[in-house]
Symmetry: C2
Subunit: 311 residues, 2 copies
């Protein structure tokens, strides 16, 4: 994944994504003692950065592959992203979802034109169901985070951020499946000037933090976090990139995530997911590291259920 | 208040305010059958359009007046706006607030450098307290909405909106004390091309709707609305402007306000006050009027207490 791949990818997907705004707040800068630039992917199409990677992955398929459609398993933002990206490109998207996924998530996927295939709520059922769709339909499987084309696509958010604010010292992003943080780290390397990338991760799902220490991909024993988008684990495509190019990973507690989320809602006046707040919580925690610096933060998405807010 | 006053005002206050972004949403456009342009004054300094009028009013004071400070009575956004505008300009601001105003509102005013003067929670006490401050301190009274310089200042939001999107057919704004809608109507006349202005008002506080019918300033008998910024009444400075230049006023029910507010939060991913949602609720209600048209909406502010959301 060299620099030209990011440039080509960005050109390719531009007509299908928003170049999302970057917001700042004097009050927040005063509170944290640094200049913070929030890259608002909550304003992205379908409400999250995942639209970028999904679009890139589909556009790189051959004509034959496109005709047979794509398949993924996800009950989160990638399910919606792949559905909408596929729809924009005239491609069928099969989305394997556990039968116990909230109806509102199934409806969202259907709303974007995705074909929902329900399966038992186990990893095994999910994998065998998508396997069978690949065989039956000839559909191409696209992984939500452990796919080179997805990783490059996600990195275009950081590329846009650095094009607008070239002098950033650090960019913070949340760490879930590893696609965003890996793409961000590569984009910072190619388009920043000595810009370092830090991951934010809840203590409750600190697999990436532990993987960085041990050198192998660790799994989570607990997943009791409000940041439901970050429960997934790293993969063999993104982990080596993270090992090599991510400066460090900062873990945050649940109350720190809530505090950061509330500050974003109250001060920036935007709706963001708890997962987005994890990156800002990490910034607040690293106050010595960031003091007086220029800091970018990827606000990853804004799809929250307003009926069950934690405030 | 002629066109040149708006142009001069805008030049004057520009260094002290944000030219706030305009957001759009394909999904919302599809749902309402028109192209909607949301002018996001929730991203304005201190979180509301009131910053514009407050800044303009203070800047037009003489050097002597500035030295003695300004005074207003308000427990809402204008209290914070006058405090912050005064602070930016090195002027003292006395804010008369009822003793039973929420502590969070008093703290917000103090946070922006305003001097809070508490009084009994009656109109009479409020007026006599600000009168005595004018006498004792020589401070200049600035009314939150019934003041020419405030009206012109508030109108600059619509001026910015029309500079970015000159072809708007209608601009909708909420109606409270009448400063915003009057300024918006004049700005639409001066800077739009046959652009009409419509006010949104809750049934519960429909004084402006009734005033338009009767030709005199009516008062509210009920104030049981979630749109707490719209409980104030019109004044003798703004009412004649509204009579002459506002196309019509559309009343909306409480459940329509909540529906509109939720759609703004969920689809646009921004935090707005119920008062802002009143204008969008009016747009939704007027679906025949707006069909296929280009519609601007002034999202008036974003200062909400996340602890007591109506969702």
């Amino acid at each position: 994944m060299d620099k030209s791949e990011f440039i080509e990818c960005h050109k390719r997907i531009k007509p299908f994504i928003h170049n999302t705004p970057v917001l700042t707040s004097h009050l927040i800068d005063e509170m944290v003692g640094a200049s913070i630039f929030f890259k608002c992917e909550n304003f992205q199409k379908m409400g999250a950065f995942k639209m970028r990677g999904a679009t890139n992955a589909i556009m790189l398929l051959s004509h034959e592959q496109r005709q047979k459609g794509v398949v993924t398993h996800s009950s989160g933002n990638f399910a919606q992203a792949l559905s909408l990206a596929a729809k924009s490109l005239g491609v069928k998207a099969f989305i394997v979802m556990p039968s116990n996924a909230p109806q509102v998530k199934k409806d969202a996927v259907k709303g974007y034109g995705g074909i929902v295939i329900e399966c038992e709520p186990t990893l095994k059922a999910r994998q065998s169901e998508s396997k069978s769709l690949q065989e039956k339909e000839g559909a191409t499987f696209i992984h939500p985070s452990n796919d080179d084309n997805v990783i490059v696509g996600q990195g275009t958010a950081c590329k846009e951020l650095l094009e607008k604010h070239p002098g950033l010292d650090y960019v913070f992003a949340p760490v879930g499946g590893g696609g965003l943080i890996a793409g961000t780290a590569l984009a910072a390397k190619y388009f920043g000037y000595n810009c370092k990338v830090v991951g934010g991760e809840p203590y409750e799902v600190d697999d990436a933090y532990r993987s960085m220490l041990s050198g192998i991909i660790e799994t989570n024993k607990t997943t009791n976090t409000i940041a439901d988008g970050l429960k997934t684990q790293l993969g063999d495509r993104n982990f080596p990139i993270i090992q090599k190019h991510v400066h460090s990973i900062t873990r945050v507690a649940e109350d720190e995530i809530l505090y950061a989320m509330r500050m974003i809602w109250e001060r920036l006046k935007i709706v963001c997911e708890p997962s987005s707040a994890v990156a800002f919580a990490a910034v607040i925690k690293e106050k010595n590291l960031i003091a007086g610096k220029k800091i970018g933060i990827i606000i990853s998405g804004g799809n929250v259920d307003l009926g069950i807010l934690p405030f």
